[in-house]
Amino acid sequence: MKKMTLGAFEEIVLLTVGALNENAYGVTIKVELESNLKKSISIGALYAALQRLEEKGWVNSRVGGITEKQGGRRKQYYDITKQGVLALHEVKAMRNELFHRLPATKIQWLKS
């Protein structure tokens, strides 16, 4: 099987889903993303990303929040899966590894 890749936007969406824990659904994810990225994002793009993550098995979705007030509509909640966490970890590990290989002279710049 082709190795599944984690795109930059997907990665941050996946992280946000994980961070929001029990309360990750469309609006909360969007709000969280916007506050972290400091730019507005389209909810359509978010759905597309979540859909791809779900296909790859890195998030699960569950239905909840059916109330009378919302006219029988429901929220689609997302939870990060174990594979999702592994994928994040892998990416993070790779980044860390690469980051640590930055020459010390260049790390110096962070402190100034």
Partner: protein, 881 residues
């Protein structure tokens, strides 16, 4: 927390969008999220912005769903539509010849249709850009004329103002005068300038022509001010600032430029170059000749009150118009009610039938013809698609079978074939837009218009979208129904499809050829008539004949000018006439007291009247039937034509005397007839030869035109010699001349345009039909390959096989002719030709050419495929099974 009251309801448009594009499961998720955001935004940003954000986000969701994501979140039919388009596209690529034929046919049909629509749309848009154009009416008057009542748009200014002031329902009026040709001087440069109009101060209250430079609401208050168009500004002042500059017009009048207007668009009857005030002309006219005038009157009337205005006109006329409000036919007053009519401004261009308008008019009847042709060509193209799609269906029977076996509903199959048609139409639209962009400059040149994509109205574009959907449905509907109703088992076996649909196919081919043949016959008839109009003997020689308008001071020097011109070796003869032949506004006079016919003498006989110089008949190349030509200036006597002699009833008119109203002072004296000229046509060939009388001009009436017969050799050098002579006499007047045959042909401009357009569209329609035959015969050969192989094995020759294939196409063409012949005969021969008094006889070959032409083309096309059979090895098609 979140109420669902109407106030908090997100915009329905957004919800509807989501509902139609999202699958059921996904829908509620999206609705929840967007709703929550909406409620949030409602508090901080207000209703409108929250609503807009909602719709924007909804569109974003749909966009990502279809272009970025997978189709599982979208409803089934949308996903199927996507899939259908993909399948159609694959088929399109797979069967290249078939796709090519269909696309080409549709593209050509659409291109023709759109081009025609653009033209018709332009013609219909005349003067509709003026704000309030619905309540502007032009007033016209209908006057008595011996050859039938005539309608005029020109009238005395006082007529318009009197009506405007005394009829309360008329809320305003403005008058427009035509400057005619003006001699404009700027610096030392003299030039002749057409397109001058005199307008009143309130002209811009009626008509909207935007100002380019100068005050925005410019008014022509003073008689020494002038408004010019940008073209004229550039012509005289180049890049320097035109405002405040002074132009001298007609030698002594100085005008200051106070504003520059945009060039008037092509779709207006006011094709002006400059505007000056009408006031001086009103003053000159103050005590007013009420009789004749060239002013046009425009009235502002609430459309509902037009009837009231018309009913009051007569009262006002009787009360305020002076006694002497008469015209040339004074003693015919009881027959001269001088009726007034109101024309809506927007109707002037297409529906007015007035002979002498400021600019050439269009014709509503031709708009109907062109629209019909455009539509018909489009239908032919759709029919082509339908036909080839049905023919191809045999090859696709298996596909249908499999789809049905897996559970495709009939609706789903219908949608598949409709979307396939949609794809073809879409590709054709794209191609035809490219094609039109390429053709448009030539098309504009041909029509003398400035059509472009950018000035199309929204309505027009919406209409085109409607047409696109319409032809998708028209072409795709039958194949879809046809293919989807086949039973699954039959389809899988590839059985029975052949038999079905052939009847319809033949009917459609017949239909195509009815139209193609009708157009061919009509074209042949119209072109023959046009060439007849240009070549038939009209009683005088129109070749190498020019006329020169005599202007300004030349009127006093005309005799010298004539004598100088005749010394040029290239000029055979020259002479003068008061008013030209083929002029819409001709003069006629009554005569009575015919010598020897006392019982007939009481009644008036009317004849068109021309004042000519001796030598005119010779210059025009007319022949005398009896008597002599005029011999000297001031000679008393008439030369009449044979038609007039016949009308009076004289066998031998020469030497007889008559009385005529013409020549007012001595009108009671009898005038002898000195000669009879052979009949000639002084008007267009649409009318019969009229009775005509000619007289030598009197000293008081100047001649307005010189006619000159030139030697066929070196015409251009002869013309420049004439111009040189002209310049020595009147250096500040531009020399101007026209060939007589050009003038005569101009009378048939509309007919020629129709003829040219018909030729093009007849060729297109036959081209598209043949394209269809090409496709159909290809399928036929392919599908009956097994049959043909067996025939071949059994010894059939290629010619026999070709005959078999051809047979199925010959019949529709023959049957089509049975309809096309009478149809074309009825329209072209009965309707169109009957507007000409002089017309060709309908000959059999007009019809024969249509049927033989189409037959020959079809047989050639079909035979192309049957020749392929020659190379075919029968065994390859017989060993399967």
């Amino acid at each position: 927390m979140k109420g669902r009251g109407p106030k908090n309801r997100p915009p329905w448009l957004g919800e509807k969008l989501l509902e139609s594009f999202c699958s059921y499961d996904f829908l509620s998720t999206v609705l929840w999220d967007l709703n929550e955001m909406y409620v949030e935004n409602l508090k901080s940003k207000g209703r409108l912005r929250a609503g807009l954000i909602y719709i924007y986000q909804a569109l974003g969701v749909i966009y990502h769903l279809y272009f970025k994501g997978k189709s599982q979140y979208s409803p089934n039919r949308i996903a199927m539509f996507k899939n259908n388009l993909i399948i159609s596209f694959r088929n399109f690529k797979k069967e290249k010849a078939y796709s090519f034929i269909n696309t080409l046919g549709l593209t050509v049909g659409l291109t023709a249709f759109i081009l025609i629509s653009m033209f018709v749309n332009h013609e219909l848009s005349y003067d509709k850009f003026h704000k309030d154009h619905e309540s502007i009416y032009r007033i016209t008057s209908e006057r008595y004329h011996p050859s039938g009542a005539r309608e005029y748009s020109g009238m005395a200014y006082s007529v318009v103002s009197t009506l405007g002031q005394h009829i309360p329902e008329i809320s305003g009026f403005t008058r427009v005068g035509n400057y005619g040709e003006a001699i404009v001087k700027y610096g030392d440069v003299l030039s002749s300038q057409t397109g001058g109009y005199n307008v009143e101060e309130n002209f811009f209250d009626f008509f909207n022509f935007p100002v380019l430079k100068g005050p925005e609401n410019v008014l022509l208050k003073n008689p020494d001010e002038i408004l010019i168009t940008e073209t004229m500004a550039f012509k005289y002042f180049g890049d320097s600032d035109p405002l405040g500059q002074v132009l001298t017009i007609n030698k002594n009048k100085l005008y200051k430029v106070i504003a520059v207007l945009q060039d008037p668009p092509k779709n207006t009857q006011f094709q002006f170059k400059f505007l000056t005030s009408l006031t001086p002309f009103l003053k000159a006219n103050a005590d007013g000749s009420w009789v004749r005038g060239r002013g046009k009157g425009f009235l502002k009337i609430n459309p509902e009150q037009v009837g009231a205005v018309i009913s009051k006109i007569d009262t006002v006329k009787n009360k305020f118009f002076p006694e002497n409000y008469t015209d040339a036919y004074a003693n015919e007053r009881e027959r001269d009610p001088n009726k007034f009519h109101l024309q809506p401004l927007a109707d002037v261009y297409l529906k007015s039938r007035i002979a002498s308008e400021a600019a050439a008019n269009g014709d509503m009847r031709y708009m109907y013809i062109f629209s019909a042709i455009g539509l018909i060509i489009l239908i032919i193209a759709c029919v082509n698609y339908t036909n080839t799609a049905i023919a191809r269906s045999v090859n696709r029977a298996k596909e249908v079978g499999v789809r049905k076996a897996i559970g495709a509903s009939r609706g789903a199959l219908t949608r598949l074939y409709i979307s396939e048609a949609f794809l073809y139409v879409l590709i054709s639209v794209a191609l035809s837009i490219l094609l039109i962009a390429w053709i448009l400059p030539y098309y504009n040149q041909f029509l003398d218009k400035d059509l472009s994509f950018s000035n199309l109205s929204i309505d027009f574009i919406l209409l085109m979208f409607g047409v696109i959907l319409g032809i998708t449905f028209l072409s795709g509907f039958y194949p879809a129904i046809f293919l989807s109703k086949v039973s699954t088992v039959d389809a899988l076996k590839g059985r029975t499809l052949k038999a079905k649909g052939t009847g319809l196919k033949k009917a459609l081919i017949t239909f195509q050829f009815i139209i193609a043949q009708t157009l061919i016959i009509a074209t042949v008839i119209i072109q023959s008539q046009l060439s007849y109009l240009q070549n038939t003997d009209i009683g005088y020689d129109r070749e190498h004949l020019i006329y020169i308008p005599i202007k300004g001071e030349m009127k006093d020097k005309y005799e010298i000018f004539k004598n100088d011109v005749i010394t040029i070796p290239g000029v055979k003869s020259n002479s003068y006439i008061y008013n030209l032949f083929a002029n819409g506004d001709l003069t006629a006079y009554p005569m009575n007291h015919f010598e020897g016919l006392e019982d007939k003498s009481a009644e008036n006989v009317w004849a068109n009247f021309y004042q000519v110089q001796p030598g005119f008949i010779n210059t025009m190349g007319m022949e005398m039937a009896a008597g002599t030509d005029f011999e000297s200036e001031g000679q008393r006597g008439f030369i009449i034509n044979e038609a007039l002699a016949r009308k009076i009833g004289w066998e031998n008119p020469v030497g007889k005397v008559i009385r005529s109203q013409q020549g007012s002072s001595d009108s009671e004296l009898p005038i002898p007839i000195i000669g009879v000229v052979r009949d000639f046509n002084d008007q267009s060939l649409k009318s019969e030869i009229k009775p005509i009388m000619m007289m030598v001009g009197s000293a008081t009436t100047p001649y307005y035109y010189m006619v000159a017969r030139l030697n066929p050799e070196n015409i251009s050098s002869t013309l420049s010699e004439i111009e040189a002579i002209w310049q020595t006499h009147v250096p500040d007047r531009p020399f101007d001349f026209t060939f007589y045959d050009d003038r005569l042909n101009q009378q048939y401009n509309k007919e020629m345009r129709l003829g040219n357009m018909l030729s093009v569209f007849a060729s297109l329609s036959i081209g598209i039909a043949i394209l269809g035959i090409l496709g159909l015969s290809a399928f036929m050969v392919e599908q009956r390959m097994k049959e043909f192989s067996i025939r071949k094995v059994l010894g059939a020759s290629i010619r026999q096989l070709t005959t078999i294939i051809n047979r199925s196409f010959v019949w529709p063409i023959v049957i089509a002719f049975v309809f096309a012949g009478p149809l074309a005969y009825y329209w072209a021969a009965q309707q169109w030709l009957s507007s000409f008094a002089f017309r060709i006889d309908i000959e059999a070959w007009y019809f024969v050419i249509a049927i033989l032409g189409t037959l020959l083309l079809t047989l050639l096309t079909v035979s192309y495929h049957s020749l392929k059979l020659k190379r075919v090895n029968p065994t390859t098609h017989l060993n399967s099974e």
